[in-house]
């Protein structure tokens, strides 16, 4: 029973990682950049939802929508102001800018909301008790897993069935050729950031519902973990991000339970290193040799 309980909490944590990783991987796939500020957008989403519920007394689902709207606008603004001018710059310049944006968001949050922890109000409470109360599953865990699956299926359908989704895949392969088809590459990148940031907002709310401590650096570690998950699964791959996120969450949960809480992150990253040694492109990533 304990095993099952750790597995479920791992899947729930992994689902949050997966939702963040989907944003990471989509932005990487299309803009070919690692948006290290992605984790901090999660934190902004958490704060917006917190304000909506605690100060304005709005219902939980309204706070999710508010967080999504704010984060979408924020994501598009970040892309337009910080990354778009660097379209022709080296990837290193873009990477450093992304780190800069990350610190900018963290410190802005510090300035606006202060350094004190905020206790995130539980939007979804209660547990499902099974087997004479020997196994209890928080509703928020179940919701998190369901939301993650819905998002993953939705994104897969979006990129395989819709015109905009296909245009995104075209841009991810060859921006020049995509332009020759009449695809507006800049707009496609903006839409990608919008989607990624809206997902980050959802992840922020779910994360804070499970771990209700909100501070300006809240998004930073889950951001790094989700990035790891995306690389683990194969960066640029949507099913890869999903699988990578879930596996990472489960490994972390088991490591905490059976090895040591302090060593959990060590175990997680050790597994990542081993996987990358064996499969450099990640679990589902394709190794595409450069054509000369």
């Amino acid at each position: 029973m304990e095993f099952l309980s750790y597995l479920i909490s791992g899947l729930s944590l992994g689902s949050v990682y997966a939702i963040i990783a989907l944003g990471y991987t989509m932005v990487y796939g299309i803009a070919k950049m690692l948006n290290f500020a992605h984790g901090d957008v999660i934190m902004v989403g958490g704060y917006i939802s917190y304000i909506a519920v605690s100060y304005m007394g709005l219902p939980g689902w309204v706070s999710v929508i508010a967080a999504m709207v704010v984060c979408t606008v924020l994501g598009v603004l970040i892309e337009g102001l910080a990354y778009k001018p660097l379209r022709a710059a080296t990837s290193l310049a873009v990477l450093i800018t992304a780190i800069g944006v990350s610190y900018f968001l963290q410190n802005s949050a510090l300035l606006i909301w202060g350094a004190n922890f905020k206790t995130y109000p539980s939007v979804i409470s209660g547990t499902l008790n099974l087997f004479d109360n020997r196994l209890s599953i928080p509703y928020v865990s179940m919701l998190t897993v369901v939301v993650c699956i819905v998002i993953m299926v939705g994104l897969t359908l979006f990129t395989s069935k819709t015109k905009m989704g296909k245009a995104m895949r075209a841009c991810s392969e060859d921006k020049g050729a995509a332009q020759l088809m009449g695809i507006n590459v800049n707009r496609t990148i903006s839409v990608t950031f919008a989607i990624g940031s809206a997902l980050a907002a959802i992840a922020g709310v779910l994360l804070c519902s499970s771990f209700p401590i909100l501070k300006p650096t809240t998004g930073s570690m889950p951001g790094i973990k989700a990035f790891t998950a995306a690389v683990f699964g194969g960066i640029g791959s949507i099913p890869g991000a999903f699988l990578g996120g879930l596996l990472l969450g489960v490994i972390e949960s088991f490591a905490k339970a059976y090895i040591s809480t302090q060593l959990a992150n060590t175990v997680v990253f050790a597994v990542l290193i081993i996987v990358l040694l064996v499969r450099p492109a990640g679990l589902l990533g394709k190794y595409v040799p450069e054509k000369v």
Binding site: K163, K166, R169, E173, Q179, M181, G182, I183
Partner: protein, 235 residues
Amino acid sequence: MAMLEVNNINVYYGSIHAIKNISFEVNSGEIVTLIGANGAGKSTTLQTISGLLRSKTGSITFMGKNLGGIAAHKVVSMGIAHVPEGRRIFQQMTVEENIEMGAFTRPGNEYEQSVQNVFAHFPRLQERRKQIAGTLSGGEQQMLAMGRAMMSKPSLLMLDEPSMGLSPILVDEIFEIIKAFHDSGTTILLVEQNANKSLAISGRAYVLENGKIVLTGTGKELMQSEEIKKAYLGG
């Protein structure tokens, strides 16, 4: 007035002066070829017309409209389709998805008719419509790139080395299709190293050397020119 007028354009890659004061024109209904060795500036010229590259000075007008400063993705809807060097099909997408991307700027209700038209020219693409494009042979990929470009219903089709890397039989097939596109009313601007084949179907041609136009004439004239024979036609 010519359909496409290129006036004194100069294009640079950083400090390299790739295109030096090139001027030429393509009239509606023509097949015009740019021939020249590797690095002469043929592909650069096409990329400048389609907006992927910018000319520093000079102007390009298409059907009376100045193309200067117009983004590449907008040039397509003005009626120019560009099949780039190396085909650049979307390798990880299916044949049909590639074709759909070609119709990106067109209204959805004409898709079915356009796609049937492309399949009429390239029956092999129809057989392979669900296949991942990267698994096609070189000739099929070239056909896909050309079919994809025709989906935008261009008035001017620019083809960059369509015969590159293909077997002689396939080269013949590709040139037949170019003629068929031309017969159906599409104006063609062709860039080729295969001077023999391309001059034979061209109304006019320009010879590029080191970023400059050094010679121009009708296809027939150039095929008989001693210089051209020596440099491009193998004696």
